[in-house]
Amino acid sequence: MMSNFIFMNGYGIFVWSSFGLVLISGFILFLKTRKTLKKYEKEFLLELQTLPEAKKKHVLENSKIANKILVENSKTN
């Protein structure tokens, strides 16, 4: 039963390679995309930190995106 599932009557190598390739390449693209997103979020926050206090407050009051990034990053850190 178990060997049937693994070898699939001789087609196992083709079937598992196909599913494995889809899962692995999908996972790699996911990790790469998430890493880039986090990098840009960090850079954005660093840029925000360099602003004078009044300007920073103004940006946070006027930019919903800046707020969202700040909230999401404070949750993960």
Partner: protein, 235 residues
């Protein structure tokens, strides 16, 4: 109406959708894999090799769908001058490229046990390979052309040229004699595929759609943050 397409609005909506997809993705993936690898019966002629269809067909569909979307958005962006559509396209292209690549490679893995060869230069396979080249050139144009106006023009040109290839891919199996089989699933026509195979196919399609959506959301958010970072001092 176009205010709805503002980066801020889209960013906030995308964040909510991303959370929702994250919460449902893994349960659907596990159920779909169980259907595709265990519960679905083997084909009478192709045996278990047919299971490759559950990743090959949705990948091919999504590869084509992404490029169709890129073409439509490129045209709309040119007519209505909505730059945001180019950022959407930039985020869509790597996903389309991945799916097209997967369709070609899994097709090759399916071809060896069923046709006895990894590759033939038939119309369907060759036109799919051309689609992959269009994706690569589209992505490279965003990467290497620094002047924005030129980049937008060149990327639109590639998208429109690539769109000519889409009906060729779709109808290649009808127009020419190919080793690749004709479509088993047609909209509005009774299908030649049994429901025990149709269900895993549709559930794997759902998994890949959700995955594509998740990657798109992250890539598009990255684009928006990149734009906002440039303009942060002007806020």
């Amino acid at each position: 109406m176009f205010n709805f397409f503002s980066p801020t609005n889209i960013f906030l909506i995308l964040s909510r959708i991303q959370k929702f997809i994250n919460s449902i993705f893994f349960p659907i993936l596990i159920v779909s894999l169980v259907f595709a690898l265990i519960l679905s019966p083997p084909d009478r002629i192709q045996g278990d090799a047919m299971r490759i269809m559950y990743v090959h067909v949705p990948s091919a569909w999504l590869g084509l769908a992404c490029f169709s979307a890129i073409t439509v958005l490129s045209i709309l962006a040119f007519i209505f001058k909505i730059k945001n559509f180019f950022y959407i396209n930039k985020s869509l292209a790597p996903i389309g490229l991945l799916f097209t690549f997967l369709a070609i490679v899994t097709g090759s893995l399916w071809g060896e046990p069923t046709w006895g060869t990894w590759w033939v230069w038939d119309a369907r396979l060759t036109s799919m390979m051309f689609l992959m080249f269009f994706y690569i050139s589209y992505i490279l144009c965003f990467k290497f052309i620094k002047k924005e106006q030129l980049m937008l023009k060149v990327s639109s040109l590639i998208a429109i040229l690539g769109a000519i290839n889409l009906p060729i891919i779709k109808y290649s199996v009808d127009w020419w004699t190919t080793l690749h089989q004709p479509a088993s699933i047609k909209l509005g026509v009774s299908n030649s595929i049994h429901s025990t195979m149709m269900l895993p196919l549709l559930s794997m399609l759902l998994v890949l759609v959700l995955y594509g959506a998740l990657i798109f959301l992250m890539k598009y958010k990255t684009e928006i943050i990149r734009i906002k970072k440039k303009s942060i001092k002007r806020l």
